[in-house]
């Protein structure tokens, strides 16, 4: 048996039923778009959050007491609105034999006097924190202690059009005088919060904004002993009523839980849309089948096997599915990010530069489900055919 008409006939049928074909393909495209966008977003969210947390470069975060997850989220976001903790704790942590290294941080947002709505984010940190957090210099170097030098993230450097050796002028504010700070380094784009930050030494920052003796957090890198005694460490530092300890692996778990919820939402939303799409396809196919039943019976009567007619039906559905899924992938690539923006409000923490990752596995799944639908849609037509007798059909 030649397979030539396994393609010619289904394609001709699809062309002939233009409206029904178009609507069915659009329904499949919509289902693919929703499923691929949501699953791509969840995948990207998981990996980006993990990268952001890994980028912090430490195991524990010691902050002023409050909600631990809020503290971790704020730390990841760049610290806007954080509470302050006393710097005196730093010496105690440094002296702890379970601690490998410490990364004190002071994050301070300042209303940009040059812009009505803008906020300048100053980040006080140790020079060696650049390396530990995987930040790469595009130009220049890290600041030295008490040099009034600053390092700029790539975005703010571009925005302010500053190069190495230029001076960054900060107009006088409510509690600080006018400042002129030398740009000593510019970072490569990291896709994180540092891109929009102005980084300087903690001492300078405390001095500049009258924040003496204050920190927003201390990142703690543990040694083997520390990792074995996490609970004891947490208990010890939380005995201080001003402090709380955030265990970053638990934060990862927390975000993991959030993404699991999102995944469940994707499955539910995707399932609903797929069901809707299947119902549309099925009703369109049944409508067509009732019109074509006599034709199918005649072809069967003329010796065309049920298998051939079944395959033609499947091919018809498959062509629809391939066209619909490809359209869905295209729309996801163009509009997936915009569509998933509405999920931002649902998530506790939204990393910068998050994108919708459409991978081959997700597309294969969409095609697989589509193929299954094609077979399921073709079956009722064949069942009706197998049960038919000439006297059931008019004009035979």
């Amino acid at each position: 048996m030649s397979t030539k008409y396994l393609w010619i006939w289904p394609l001709a049928n699809l062309r002939r039923n233009g409206w029904s074909t178009g609507i069915s393909a659009l329904a499949i495209a919509l289902a693919s778009f929703v499923v691929l966008s949501l699953s791509g977003f969840v995948k990207s969210y998981q990996s980006t959050v993990q990268e952001d947390i890994d980028g912090l470069g430490y195991d524990l975060l010691i902050t002023a007491r409050g909600c631990p997850y809020e503290a971790a989220t704020l730390m990841l976001r760049g610290g806007v609105g954080m509470r302050y903790m006393p710097e005196s704790v730093l010496a105690e942590i440094q002296a702890d034999d379970r601690v490998q290294d410490v990364f004190p941080a002071l994050v301070h947002p300042v209303r940009d006097p040059a812009s009505a709505e803008g906020v300048l984010l100053f980040r006080g940190m140790a020079p060696r924190a650049f390396e530990s957090q995987g930040l790469v210099f595009r130009e220049g170097r890290a600041f030295q202690k008490a040099s009034r030098g600053i390092v700029l993230g790539r975005e703010i450097a571009e925005l302010e059009q500053l190069r190495i050796g230029d001076r960054f002028f900060l107009e006088q504010g409510l509690n600080y005088p006018e400042q002129s700070l030398e740009v000593v380094g510019i970072l490569e784009r990291s896709g994180g919060q540092h891109d929009g930050s102005i980084m300087m030494s903690i001492d300078e920052l405390q001095d500049l904004f009258s924040l003496d003796g204050k920190l927003t957090g201390v990142g703690v890198q543990l040694n083997g002993l520390g990792r074995q005694n996490l609970a004891a460490m947490q208990e010890q530092y939380e005995a201080n009523p001003e402090l709380q300890v955030v265990h970053l692996s638990r934060v990862v778990e927390r975000f993991q839980l959030a993404t699991d919820r999102m995944r469940a939402m994707v499955v539910q939303a995707g399932g609903l849309v797929a069901l809707l799409c299947f119902s549309l396809l099925l009703s369109a196919a049944l409508l067509r089948a009732s019109g074509e039943q006599s034709q199918l019976f005649v072809l069967h009567a003329m010796g065309l096997s049920s298998w051939f007619l079944f395959l033609c039906s499947v091919v018809e559905g498959l062509v629809l599915v391939v066209a619909g899924v490809l359209l869905g992938v295209l729309v996801t690539l163009v509009a997936g990010a915009g569509f998933t923006e509405m999920l931002v409000g649902e998530a506790t923490y939204m990393p910068a530069d998050i994108e919708v990752l459409v991978d081959a596995a997700a597309i294969c799944w969409a095609f697989g489900v589509g193929l299954l639908f094609s077979v399921l849609v073709a079956l009722p037509r064949m069942l009706r055919l197998w049960g038919a007798k000439p006297h059931d059909l008019r004009g035979l």
């Binding site: 030649s2 008409y5 001709a12 003329m302 065309l304 096997s305």
Partner: protein, 209 residues
């Protein structure tokens, strides 16, 4: 080739016809006639194994229908069908309607070899939707030859043609049948068809007494 003995068919207790018999040799043609509702189409369906008889036996090529295996395979190898309502594939062209039957039944065929003799050559690439009923009937006849059958069962195949075209069309159909040594079992009401010398046999289906 075809042997029908004592064939009867009933629907829901009502006897449609009974005791029909026929012996048809390869290459011979037979006309089936009778009043409307007598069961002429049903008789063709029984021969095509689209339905089962209530009583009687059928043989094809010396074998009982019971021993012939799959009905679809039997039709694919032996039977060409022309239905009263034709039922062409509306989404395909004239040539594709013929070629698809050939391809799907495992035959290779240039559809023009069937379309040209029936005067359909110029319409070959047209969609069947644009054809008149008479032209559609001729496509139906061409299609019945596509699987190179031994027997064509044709149900009122020229009912929509005027007498001149009917005569010309049947001349061409019997020519094609002669060339391929195909038998034709034709149902027709038309007196001019009944008068043709091509039919070696005539079967009249009478309403049951």
């Amino acid at each position: 080739m075809l042997s029908v003995r004592g064939l009867s068919k009933s629907f829901e207790g009502r006897c449609l016809f009974s005791g029909l018999s026929l012996e048809l040799e390869q290459g011979q043609h037979c006309l089936v006639h009778g009043v409307s509702g007598a069961g002429k189409s049903t008789f063709l369906h029984l021969i095509a194994r689209l339905d089962d008889p209530s009583e009687g036996t059928l043989f094809f090529g010396g074998k009982s229908y019971a021993d012939l295996g799959s009905a679809t395979a039997f039709r694919r190898q032996n039977i060409g069908l022309v239905f009263q309502d034709i039922h062409l594939i509306e989404s395909l062209s004239v040539a594709q309607n013929v070629e698809m039957i050939a391809c799907a039944t495992g035959h290779s065929l240039d559809p023009m070899t069937l379309l040209e003799p029936l005067g359909l050559g110029p319409l070959a690439q047209q969609s069947v939707r644009t054809l008149s009923r008479g032209e559609r009937q001729r496509v139906g006849l061409a299609r019945a030859f596509a699987n190179k059958p031994r027997l064509i069962l044709a149900d009122e195949p020229t009912s929509s043609l005027d007498s001149e075209k009917r005569t010309a069309c049947l001349d061409q159909v019997f020519d094609l049948a002669r060339q391929s040594n195909t038998s034709i079992l034709m149902v027709s009401h038309d007196q001019s068809v009944g008068e043709r010398q091509d039919f070696a046999q005539r079967v009249q289906i009478l309403p049951p007494q």
